[in-house]
Symmetry: D2
Subunit: 358 residues, 4 copies
């Protein structure tokens, strides 16, 4: 059974590859009546687009969302609304340079899925990463933009930002500045150091990893106590992003060295007086801010020479050319937001179903 | 939509609470013909049982699995085999002391799900953690024991062990000693220090966190390239364990400070010459050892005085009595193994379905 | 992927065989707060029980439901309420005569699933029909009794009755008399003729088929316009009952000879002035009574001699002894009600999820 | 939870409305390596197209399938193969006359879903039937054409034909002539009478119902013994077609008047000597031909005057103009085939998953 659908009630199925016609998504289960302003959807796409600076890929894609179904503009209104039926959206590839992948037809790129992919399917489109390409995340961001409109109607807000890149860590979290630098970094000074680090590593033909933090304002009561704990579904969502190698909630890995008396968040009549829990207790949101962090690996496409093998399992060396980013950050930021939104939209609707009056 | 089922093809639905009749599971999708030796199943349960030493709960439960359906012993054989129909199993509660929870009817325990649970359901069994109780994991271990028999028939092996507890970290990973100490610790010296740390903290009425590592031998080709990446489903599985606050695969959070040239595992005709990937590339197993780590929080039930509120949101203080562990380690070890096995069993069957001859 | 779960939001997974420990179900997704009076649940079971007269099996089973989880009696109340967590229920086998099936170990019974079952699984419990046994429906009726309590809170009512048996057809539908005869027949005269027909056929060692009609009062708006049309899910539900060979809604097969102008139900300010639609238009309930009919085949276990083959595919003759009914009617009546209730409960909750405010 | 996905392992999600951009489908779970000849896919679409004669709609749609993802032509081959990733396909609307629906903005058409649809969603695209439009079935036929290629690789064949139309019934089943008349009728004489009946009713501004039979050659062992019985999933599939009001398998509703000794198919060393079972026993295919029949209602859009109400629930009269068929037959024929193929493809892969070696 394949796994190209995310969510149980707010369900998103994505399709498409890096070098085919394009990518897209079908959203099934979006409630009717939600206003979908095309400009607001496009604004989310623009945040993810490459080509905005030195850290990002020179591939130029307008990434325009085409909405193919599921909307209707009622008589006397200006903007389309969802009809409760499937929203199909497509983003066509405009700037794919498939030829540049010809040399990779017979070689596995280290750090990429080429080798595991072929082991699974026995057939492989060598142009880009196929389904595992970062290009697929354009469809996720588009679907996340729809989820955002649903969540905003319920006052649920999500924000992601960079807290570490190439060893540079933020010293503060001033969310008012995250749109003032191209790393979505909440510390202006750190952002400048990140810039320098990127330039330095670009010269070496190498790439950088980092850490992204995501926060969400969310009412109490979303989630489930056992397998579909809210943090479990969020971990699933975030770990499904290609570059992510670790996920933590609240105090995260720091809990390993804490005492119970330190880690427990005391409860007061005014609310919790700490948030080591990260806004989730026993799988269910507790009304406090949800706090998540993900580890982002350095992009595996580097221009340095690497060891690998070809289809005949003979040793070869490889330098990956083409147009690539230095880091998945900042482009992974809107993808993280999208995946958290898809998860929360799903749990919002799941909770609605379970709370039908008995 | 509730979330008490795990898996898509090998599907496990658990039921039961800490202080009801018992806990249990229904496994749907287990292939027919697998020999289920009751002794082997029980051996897994025994590894999880409390009451085996100073770090664990004094609650005494024999935790006997009763198999209610789905098996048949063919004429001339000694042991039952699965029939391909649902396996129903139950583990009855024998030693629940519900009375000791009477004082908690109106008070929310810090660090527990009491408060979020009530926000969700509007009704709450105050005796123990309800579904969020660690008792529920007995059903997971039982289901995992069935998955283990299926996986062994495909040479897939899973092992979990403790790499940190209360600040004590292992200096080596000698898997031959993990059954020689009660922490399932691969470093005998570290195990002794952990013992001391536990005794020390027990006196203080406090509890400890730690880190568990899980490794799995698994053939290449299991997993999916997009939402159901193998690491994403594994993160979901492990983060669904109550005490877990973080999950990482391979190099995990260390990737944040690595260069692409450091992180990429070179490929040689003999295989990968590194395993920062943790055995998974682009969501699909690559044939190398799968390596996962989880952060385990200190148990929130401490006998120290804590601040909290009651049902009327008035400030109260609380000391949680009852019979509790100092750390979820070592009891979480077989639970981690079970969740990884359930995930791999599911992906094994999912892969079988997708690979039908075209 | 196995198929022992019914429903998408109100989800029922059944387990158990005719001649094992018993049968049972886990209901996941039942909203919290619903009062479950054990006497009301048992009353549904009693309607399905064999041993109530000449048409039914002499097998004596008390069919007591044991509720193993998911309920809690709040302080100051008398009856348990659902907690929103999985309801596990078991019905233990008390009167299984497995020995009487020894002669069937190597012979396939005509009209039964013995031969197709073995083709699928390669292993078979020869005692009774295994999962395909009518015994499994006890678990469905128990789950349906829970669904009934949820539906009643939303004024949704379901009723099934016999409209034909062994060629005897009802001439009227007086629902006030269906509990006055053992066929749940809405025509007292027809019920008497059915009685005679049953006695006659019993002497011949043969069995009878019939037709059951099911009606439901249901608000407008439940269902889905495409694959999960309300009538499609109802057809799935009813056709999943072993004895059912046909399902129709509203005018059913009669539409084949109708004109559009005859079949369309005119709409008036007071409602529809006909109900050929059977209460469902384009997959969604229209507020009129839902009307369904199912064809019930004669029970295949007959004491007349039949041709068959053994495991070596050699011709044999067989007379099926044991304790069997003359017709699946009336025992299939509460099963039909249960399956319709499970479907409506599921769509009630599915609709709630989709109608979250945009 | 919405219901626009069909299947559990071979999963098809459709999108689109009668009068939007188009319709389409995403197929997830199709195994890799299957050759998809565009001409063969298009041939299936052409069978469903309107405009082929007096019984069908004058709407002219080329119904060209565009394959947007999931295929790759390996080096040295001529035709694309599936890659095991989602197949996205779109069929754009070319000849929608939305203006002609303006008069229907405020009136509910009898026999259509207009009134139930609005009750569910609170918002409605008045142009055509929205998702409930027959136009949506173009996406099903396209997906069914893909399933056909998978099934042919396993020697599974499906064929549908007309056995009754407007009261004219076939007297024989000569499958060699079904492509020689425009009703896909296996009796040439009956086809001529059907032609006359259509012309007669067209003059009256009325429409006709009928019965379609579907047969499938299928190996033994597909299906499930409980909820997902093969006939239950087939009933679901067929009843999800808008015009279908009844489904039967094998002897179908005739079983109501049969004795067990008549209905049971004797088993001989050469196979079954009858097929009242319709090729399925206890939910699992038995290797004999699967036989299904569906009742098709007359198309509700008639040009005769009908009673209805408007949005203010005031009585109105309505004549439905526009371009409509006299009967859903023959266009429903390829849709029936598609739905049966999607069901069999799904169960083929489901069976593969369950039969992994234990």
């Amino acid at each position: 059974m394949a796994g190209n659908t995310f969510g149980k009630v707010f369900r998103v199925t994505t399709w498409g590859e890096s070098h085919g016609t394009g990518v897209g998504a079908v959203i099934d289960g979006c409630p009717p009546g939600i206003i979908l302003d095309p400009l607001l959807l496009q604004a989310e796409m623009d945040r993810r687009r490459p080509g905005q600076g030195g850290a990002s890929s020179p591939r130029k894609e307008p990434d325009e969302i085409e909405l193919l179904s599921g909307i209707f503009t009622p008589l006397g209104e200006d903007l389309p609304r969802t009809t409760g039926t499937p929203l199909s959206l497509a983003i066509y590839n405009k700037d794919a340079h498939s030829k540049s992948y010809d040399s990779l037809r017979e070689i596995f790129r280290p750090g990429h899925g080429d080798i595991s992919y072929l082991a699974k399917y026995g057939i492989r489109d060598h142009r880009g990463g196929g389904r595992a390409s970062a290009r697929e995340t354009a469809a996720r961001v588009a679907a996340g933009a729809v989820a955002k409109q649903l969540l905003l109607a319920h006052d649920i807000k999500v924000c992601a930002y960079t807290v570490a890149l190439g060893g540079v860590k933020v010293q503060k979290r001033d969310l008012s500045v995250i749109n003032s630098n191209r790393f979505f970094c909440p510390d202006g000074d750190a952002a400048e150091q990140m810039e320098e680090r990127v330039l330095e590593v670009r010269k070496q033909g190498d790439t950088l990893g980092g850490i992204v933090e995501i926060v969400a304002d969310c009412p109490a009561g979303l989630g489930e106590p056992v397998f579909d704990k809210l943090e479990a579904d969020l971990a699933h969502a975030l770990m499904s992003i290609g570059a992510v190698k670790g996920v933590e909630v609240g105090a995260g890995f720091r809990v390993a060295e804490m005492l119970g008396s330190e880690n427990n968040d005391p409860i007061t009549p005014e609310g919790f007086s700490g948030n080591n829990a990260g806004g989730i207790l026993a799988g269910i949101s507790n009304g406090d801010t949800i706090v998540l962090r993900v580890a982002v690996k350095p992009i595996p496409s580097i221009s340095k020479e690497q060891q690998s093998v070809n289809l005949e399992n003979e040793a070869v060396t490889i330098k990956v050319g083409g147009r690539h980013d230095i880091s998945a950050i900042p482009r992974v930021i809107p993808v993280c937001e999208a995946m958290v939104r898809l998860t929360l939209a799903d749990h919002l609707l799941r909770h609605t179903a379970i709370s039908a009056k008995g």
